[in-house]
């Protein structure tokens, strides 16, 4: 096994997810199956091969620093689960 049950729970926490008790074993088995399959890449000789992050050659995109209209506040807030005085409301942080 690549991933223990505890490690699965740790990864879930990192991803801001929780698993139901009955899901933990299922996920542990499935994630291990998939990671074991992925391990076959170890066979490939990649010595000196550059990694490819993108299909096109990446280049910087510049534009003039001009002021343009953004999303109007009302439109930006329209889907907010909770809002007040033109802002998004979240549970108390401090």
């Amino acid at each position: 096994m690549v991933l223990s049950r505890d490690e699965v729970l740790h990864v879930a926490r990192l991803a801001r997810l929780t698993l139901k008790e009955e899901e933990v074993d299922l996920f542990t088995r499935q994630l291990n199956d998939i990671l074991s399959y992925m391990a076959q890449l170890r066979e490939v000789d990649t010595e000196g091969v550059p990694p490819m992050a993108h299909a096109l050659t990446a280049f910087n995109v510049f534009r003039e620093d001009e002021v343009t209209l953004g999303l109007p506040r009302e439109a930006a807030l329209a889907n907010a689960p909770d809002r007040e005085e033109g802002g998004f409301v979240v549970p108390r942080v401090i």
Binding site: L3, V8, V11, A12, L14, A15, R16, L17, T18, E23, F27, Q30, L31, D33, I34, L35, Y37, M38, Q40, L41, R42, V44, T46, V49, P50, P51, M52, A53, H54, A55, L56, V61, R63, L71, A75, A76, A78, N79, A80, P81, D82, F88, V90, P91, R92, V93
Partner: protein
Amino acid sequence: MATDLCCLTISQLLPLFVQRQVSPVEVTQSFLERIARLDPELKAYLTVDGEGALSQAREAEARYARGEAGPLDGVPLALKDVLATKGLRTTCASRILEHFVPPFDATVVARLREAGAVFLGKVNMDEFAMGSSTENSAFGVTHNPWARDRIPGGSSGGSAAAVAADLCTASLGSDTGGSIRQPASHCGVVGLKPTYGRVSRFGLVAYASSLDQIGPLTKEVRDAALLLEVIAGHDPRDSTSAMVAVPNYLEKLGEEIKGVKIGVPREYFGEGLDPEVEAAVRAALKTLSDLGGEILEVSLPHTSYAVATYYIIAMAEASSNLARYDGVKYGARQKARTLMEMYTQTRTAGFGPEVRRRIMLGTYTLSAGYYEAYYRKASQVRTLIRRDFDQAFETCAVLATPVAPTPAFRLGEKVSDPLTMYLSDIFTISANLAGIPGISLPCGISREGLPIGLQLLGPPFGEPQILKVAYAFEKATDFHRRKPPLP
């Protein structure tokens, strides 16, 4: 007559509109009636916007009356629910976006609007485009019009089923690892994944940003060319959209394919390929050869590593992209005492099991200590896969392969075994890793009456040549005219 209007292609509809023999309102109404009759069973649509569609059709009609019609004026389309539509619910087939109404249009949607298209509604998909069967939708499965107990393919299963069942004239889908081509193949329609960067991704809900691409699903090759021409081109809102001029995709259609070199990668015809699929694809190669195409065997030696490479990269990108669903600015929020609990409960309640699996695997492969072994390694193998294609395209104009190893499988058959489901993407994912274009078109029917597809791949920005070969094949065969058995 009403139902006949639903069978027409874009290229058949447009002259009827221009000559004022048929009106966009009449066609739209026929579709809405057909959807009301057939879709309760097929479930291709998540949202039908009858009122919106009729009002767009009336505007199209007025433009025809004034002689100011656009290139797609009055053509009724269905959009995969991954594309943002201003004022029309866009769910991504996820609970977390169940009530999300975008304040803007995706660039492709804006371009289609500008061209006069009518939007019938939004169609089903795997949640966040993660899946190969549309069974991962949070809002129920879509049935294959050819056999109700089969999957339509995925993730653009709603698009493919809607086109096949004549519930729209054409559709747009998205393809991250085969999500346009595989459902097109399973439903007996044409599906085109353009070169990475050919079409703007602005307003496409992100899954794996270095692989995602929007493209058309249509009844015929010509319609795919027509739609691509409208949606392709640079967009200042997507810095990865290519600054490459958009050619006239219709121009080369109808040219002979005599002497065109068509490569057949031997790795695509091995173990696991269904004999009926192999026979249909081999027969298609014979047809292409009879048309003058020069068939030659080639090798793509890293093919067997594509699935592992793809899933590492796609899941890593997904885990990062889906971090935005935190219940703060939009989406379904779960009430909680603390901010951290709010994030965790919102995401746990909002995402289905496959999405959570992929986020967790991506989180793991990117985490400290594992990055080199997984993500970096996969990115290097990706280079090797791309080089395989570069080499093949030094001698070939296009490559011809199967689309999927089997015809459409049964609903429920693979849903509990994610790895088996991933392996069904073996022939389509390499094109996304390499960023090259691919088209799927009908090339056979199995003994059980299920469609089989042929895939043609081209070099970057090689859409004109794959469309040309696809069109020549289509003209020489009648598979694209076969219709599923519907009441």
